[in-house]
């Protein structure tokens, strides 16, 4: 059995609800999906017990009714497991993973700024990457957002035109 298949089997053995939710795309690339209700335990297990010691990136996605997050977790040997999860767009609340990965700080601020995730437990700090004067409720990576929406928001606020 390859490394990838072992990970697949181990995940399903530990979490029966992950059956059919783990796929091996190619050598060193495993993809998995988990609902928010089980996210913390699966993510914690991968980080603490299954040797996924690096968080390479967090991808945020606008999937229509839901907002998606993909945590790209890597092992030192080059294997990456991308763990996808989703939350309703109306209430896009997720818990921070910074207690496990300090580097997640800026990745989580990025999805908060660009897609409007509310990341609970993230320590106080500067926003990233949008400017300080960026209007509230404007999330540029959402599919329905257009640069023109920014003009409208500023006009409503009557604020300055430069950020």
């Amino acid at each position: 059995m390859t490394d990838e298949e072992t990970i697949q089997a181990e995940l399903v053995a530990r979490f029966p609800f992950m059956r059919d939710k783990v796929r091996v795309q190619r050598p060193r690339r495993v993809w998995a999906e988990v609902g928010q209700d089980h996210f913390a335990e699966v993510f914690g297990c991968l980080a603490r017990e299954m040797r996924f010691t690096m968080l390479s990136a967090i991808t945020g996605l606008d999937q229509g009714e839901t907002l998606g997050l993909i945590y790209h977790l890597a092992r030192e040997n080059g294997l990456v497991l991308s763990l996808a999860t989703g939350v309703p767009k109306a209430q896009p609340v997720v818990q921070t993973v910074t207690p496990l990965f300090a580097c997640a700080d800026v990745y989580e601020r990025e999805v908060a700024d660009l897609l409007g995730f509310q990341v609970q437990g993230l320590p106080q700090g500067p926003r990233y990457p949008l400017p300080d004067g960026w209007p509230a409720g404007q999330y540029p990576l959402r599919k329905d957002w257009k640069p023109e929406s920014l003009g409208d928001a500023k006009a409503e606020k009557g604020g300055p035109t430069s950020g």
Binding site: Q25, R26, R28, R29, W31, T53, M54, L55, S56, A57, T59, G60, L61, I70, H72, E76, N77, G78, L79, V80, S82, F101, A102, C103, D105, V106, Y107, L114, G125, P126, R127, Y128, P129, L130, P131, P140, L141, K143, W145
Partner: protein, 408 residues
Amino acid sequence: MADVIRIPIGPQHPALKEPANFMLTLGGEKILEAGVRLGYNHRGIEKACEQRTYIQDLYLLERICGICSHSHSTCFVQAVEEIAALEVPKRAAYLRTLVAELERIHSHLLWLGVAGHEVGFDTLLMYTWRDREVVMDLLAALTGNRVNYGLNTIGGVRRDVTPEQKEKILQGMDILEERTRYYIQIATQETTLIQRLSGVGLLNHEDALRLGAVGPTARASAVDRDLRRDDPYAAYREVSFKVITDNHNDVYGRTLVRVGELMECYGIIRQLLKQMPDGPIAVKAPRKIPAGEALSRYEAPRGEDVHYVKADGTDKPERVKVRAPTLANVQVVAHMLKNRYLADMPIIIAAIDPCFSCTDRLISVAQADDRRADVMTWGQLRDYSIAWYRRRGVDFSGLNRTFRKGGA
């Protein structure tokens, strides 16, 4: 006890080569606390990618960075090719790797110069940047450009290498190898440099892992990680090289790692040129990419570059996500600055090699039939500078002789 004051460094500051803001809390000359604010270079490229075709995105993403442009373009194209199940011809993989390593040489020599400059050793800056012209000329000859090479296309590469170019590259590698040996000698024997860099910007092994450092920054803290070996792409499976690590954990260690990596680059390039198979350099790619997703990783000169691409069956991607190495490393900087002196800040920041654009061209391109008199060639410019100094009683012509003999 000195008063505690807070000062902002940046976003625009002479010590920074790119806009970033470091909010420092100082107790006298010592940095007690450092906060980093980024985003001043955010250009909305990920959003822009969703509105453009895959081929347009390839060129757009290449322009994320003025130095590791080939890194981003290759990282993206690999993800697209994986989704489209395209088998890139072997020769194309070799050519991608060739330009990748030439780019690493260009980037590391550039860094060595910046590092020299930041510690007041400007002679090192002048030397390394002069030597860097060897590799810039090779890249320009191979791809038509010093940066933003436009080499990649979906399914392969756009330009082949000729036997004459191969010969030129090999000559260039010999010159650069000799020069790099000299830099290694400086880095290991020049006490002023060693003392200035040692113990500065400390990052121990555990913190490097915990804070997610990547590339030479991590490798200088004894993190034995290099995607070219661990997650091989392009033609890296077919060449042998050492992953350079060091356990000094400081700016000095990061210098040793980079000069060590330069030596490996020359070896990799010689193997690539020797083993490069004949054959096509690209396969035909569909305009529309089938639905799917892929994660591509690439060992850029500064560390792990990550691209995630999601396709929805159209000619435009549904989502493109980029995590450049500096974003991972800049978080480590705040940690490295703590309890250091303010005067160490420029070199600590420079030591992670943050990305900035360097696209200015020294030699103007003029049509052969429209050559203006004020356009100088590299040789003319060099002769001019030697004459300029000679008029002031300094003779550099002897110093340049070895270099000229090498065929520059």
